[in-house]
């Protein structure tokens, strides 16, 4: 059941948050050995929260539609008293002394937090194969990846191990796994949701996002976590609209831009066809479409793989074995202790990006790499903003292809290119959502990406909702035992 269906069932007294939490915990116990979505299951914490939610619903005083909703958190979000690994050995044994703002807000809304989900180490990857604790598998085909880096959260929602989940998106880490797992994944505008307590990968790009089974649940989750946070200087101080109310209204009269660069070489024909059909469906609902050009699209990956590693090399400097997490024993001095700890604690992809980023920031190279990448980032942003000045929403595929097989993309560059349609939006700080728009012949979900103006998540959700209502894709569920 979806979150809004659960709330309705609680209201009618058909079930209770405790019963639902128990059912989800039982399903996790039964299925997660196959999927590998969770790194930590917080059974006691979940049942205690559920019991409190039971009492509120019984008293007719729930905190809102999220009261009693069983949710999962990507293990990059700090949880007080619950280990937070970021999928890395280097944070072994790290138990944060504080909750991330989004965790506080979900709990304040009555959510039942089931546990922490698997991810590519420090959110660096597009397949959740780069977790120090083993990969997560795609519920639609256990031989395939769920996407990444928020693969655990996406798989948990797709496999109905949780009704919703939070992830984080730096270059596509919510939208791409949402596409691969056939769920709704929203990356809000940069600054819309507080980053306090989100363990940083690339600070200027990181944003907390949501996974849900439909647009209505996405509206509920976003409404709960969005809003200014005085602890995050980059969070936007703007009112949070009623996203649920904004779902109504349909797409009649909306202008949808179709960026031609997103349908070019390298795109899987099955994906292109499904997305084109989705655009036709939206036209049938009364939207008008317009072809647009985003000439800087091709530069996105290059810019991203200079800026994100540069910021990562800085953000990850603190993991040195001195204060928390892993410390490799037996070193004869400080420098040896630090370098041995980092050598043992970080995986290959993280080390690759730390080295790339360190190089990009080095004296003599800064202008050529970091400085230049910032300039091109501005061009990418202007490109998208110019298009969105003419159209209300851009519609495009989320990824060039459907979920690939575990081990299929061993070449880092092939993996990086999977983000080609998600990275430009991240660079521009704009909101985007991925939703299911069909299946490949092999039965794998295809993702439709909607990109909107800054702080205009409401319009994205309205389009997504109209599309869901007009199509029957959500009825199909993965055939897990």
């Amino acid at each position: 059941m979806t979150i809004h269906e659960l709330a309705e069932a609680y209201r009618r007294g058909e079930t209770t948050p405790s019963a639902v939490a128990e059912a989800h915990l039982a399903r996790i116990a039964a299925l997660d050995a196959k999927v590998g979505a969770f790194l930590t299951v917080t059974r006691e914490r979940a049942l205690a929260a559920a019991a409190a939610a039971d009492a509120r619903w019984r008293a007719g005083a729930p905190r809102g539609p999220l009261d009693g909703a069983p949710l999962a958190l990507k293990d990059v979000l700090c949880t007080k008293g619950v280990r937070t690994t970021c999928g890395s050995r280097i944070l072994e044994g790290f138990v944060p002394p504080y909750d991330a703002t989004v965790v506080e807000r979900l709990e304040a809304a009555g959510a039942v937090l089931l546990g922490k989900t698997n991810m590519d180490e420090f959110a660096m990857g597009s397949s959740t194969e780069h977790s120090a604790f083993g990969p997560t598998r795609n519920p639609w085909d256990l031989g395939r990846v769920p996407g990444g880096s928020s693969g655990g959260s996406a798989a948990a929602v797709a496999a109905e191990l949780a009704a919703g989940a939070l992830g984080t998106d730096t270059g596509g880490s919510v939208r791409q796994p949402a596409a691969f797992c056939g769920v709704v994944g929203l990356k809000p505008t940069y600054g819309r949701v507080s980053r306090y307590g989100l363990v940083a990968f690339a600070s200027s790009l990181d944003q907390v996002g949501t996974f849900a089974r439909d647009a209505r649940d996405t509206a509920l989750l976003l409404g709960a976590i969005a809003g200014h946070d005085p602890r995050d200087a980059t969070s936007v101080d703007a009112p949070v609209p009623d996203y649920t109310a904004a779902l109504a209204g349909g797409v009649r009269g909306l202008c949808l831009g179709v960026p031609r660069e997103y349908f070019g070489e390298g795109i899987d024909p099955e994906v292109a066809r499904a997305v084109r059909e989705a655009i036709e469906t939206l036209r049938g609902l009364g939207a008008v479409t317009e072809d647009v050009s985003l000439p800087t699209t091709d530069y996105g990956i290059a810019v991203y793989y200079v800026l994100a590693p540069a910021e990562a090399s800085s953000n990850l400097a603190r993991y040195d074995g001195v204060k928390y997490g892993l410390r490799t024993p037996g070193a004869k001095d400080l420098i040896e202790m630090e370098s041995r700890t980092r050598a043992a604690g970080f995986g290959a992809e993280v080390k690759r990006r730390i080295m790339l980023g360190t190089y990009a920031l080095s004296a003599g190279y800064y202008d050529a790499y970091y400085g230049r990448a910032q300039k091109v980032r501005t061009l990418v942003r202007r490109d998208l903003e110019a298009a969105l000045a003419r159209v209300d929403v851009l519609v495009a595929p989320t990824t060039p292809g459907v979920a690939f097989r575990l081990g299929e993309k061993a070449d880092p560059l092939a993996m990086y290119l999977n983000d080609v349609f998600t990275v430009p939006t991240s660079l521009a700080g704009l909101p985007a959502v991925s939703l299911r728009c069909g299946f490949s012949a092999a039965g794998l979900p295809v993702g439709l990406q909607l990109i909107g103006r800054a702080l205009d998540e409401a319009t994205l959700l309205r389009v997504a909702h109209a599309y869901e209502q007009a199509t029957g894709w959500l009825a199909r569920r993965p055939a897990l035992a």
């Binding site: 970021c86 002394p97 200087a233 800085s314 040195d320 204060k323 004296a363």
Partner: protein, 487 residues
Amino acid sequence: MSAPAQAGWEVVIGLEVHAQLRTRSKMFCGCPTAFGAAPNSQTCPVCQGMPGTLPVINRTAIEYAVRTALALDCRVNAGCRFARKHYYYPDMPKNFQISQYEEPLAEEGLLEIDIDGAARPIGIQRLHLEEDVGKLLHEGTLATAQASLVDFNRSGVPLMETVSKPDLRSPEEAAAYLRAFRAVLVYLGVCDGNMEEGSLRCDANVSLRPRGSAGLGTKVEIKNLNSFRNVQRALEYEVQRQAQALEAGERIVQETRLWDADRDVTRPMRSKEYAHDYRYFPEPDLVPLQIDRAWVDAIRRDLPELPRARRRRFVAQHGLPPYDAGVLTQSRALADYFEAAVRAFPQPKLVSNWIMSELLRALPGDDERAIAGAPVTPERLAGLLGLVQDGTISGRIAKDVFERMLRTGQDAPTIVAREGLTQVADEAALAAVVDRVLAQNPRAVADYRGGKTAAAKALVGQVMKATGGKANPGIVNRLLEEKLSRI
């Protein structure tokens, strides 16, 4: 320092001064900044650099930096930006320091110093904000310690770095600059200026060039200059070292040297301690800071009177010699003390004399806290001077009373009454003492009558001795004169 070795060389010095700002909370989190608390008791996830935490700028720190920038006639930039400075050291929890690099808060100012009575402007290149690091504690010495501990209480305390231009021409000028700079900060109330507690720290860049040359020689950076005395001594040593090297035809190596105050030498730091590429880049967790003009103007309007202006005013308004004015304005507390005392006892030069000779014998004049908390308040000093003026006690007794006031914290009338120090001004009583002294000293009386008028002085002394110093000297003199002329 022997001058000959440097005779042909001109000294070029620039100072970088780090001042801890007296904000209640830290630069990027809400933790308190008080010195001396139990280790790690003033920390939170943010200043411990925990994963997921974010910095938030302390507005008061910005205000203090703007205030300082205005006092130094700097240009306050309309926009400034924080940047990350990277190096690995365990006292720095994130392994980068949030500082400012390409877009500092303020630039291009000046500070006037007095050299041999003449004012000389020293250029200020830039002023920026950053966060302080923690403190390492080693079990035993660094070389033998089996373990080291980190105290993050200081981590995140606001630091203001002010870089002078290379305008200083001698170690004496460098020390004078630091003194003047410290006085400005203390007057502004932005820093307590306490060098022992590390509130004010100084690094120096020093080079030599042939006299008359306009270029700059190879500079050496000297760290660990934690007192005025060390600044001067370290620079004197370094100037001599460089001069001797140059005279011997050697080249100066650009390096960082550490002042070793125990051995009175500078020595090179190991290369790995300073061979950094800091990989600066703009801090993505903080948005660029826009400094509102109206706010800057409001801060400018609220600037207090600065040391130089106050010194000039003390000369003009109170008629003090420039020397006195200089001593009395060395700290804001001392200048305030002087003015409060003068309000209660309007004889500025007398008050100045008492402060310089008595108060500053007991308390350091540049120690704001000591002066502000002096057991002899300005009002009590005025009360003491009033007792001298009305003849209740003599000037000599007053000095003893001042000492007791310092020790006991009591006021002058209480001490004078309890100790029976009131000056004897009763003519009848004194006349009896004078008669007795004259009777006991026939020889002196004879000398006086024989024309040796100096003998009268010995007789005055005898009378004072007989009264325990409490006799009013004026009355004694008059009585003696009268009685001797009648004999």
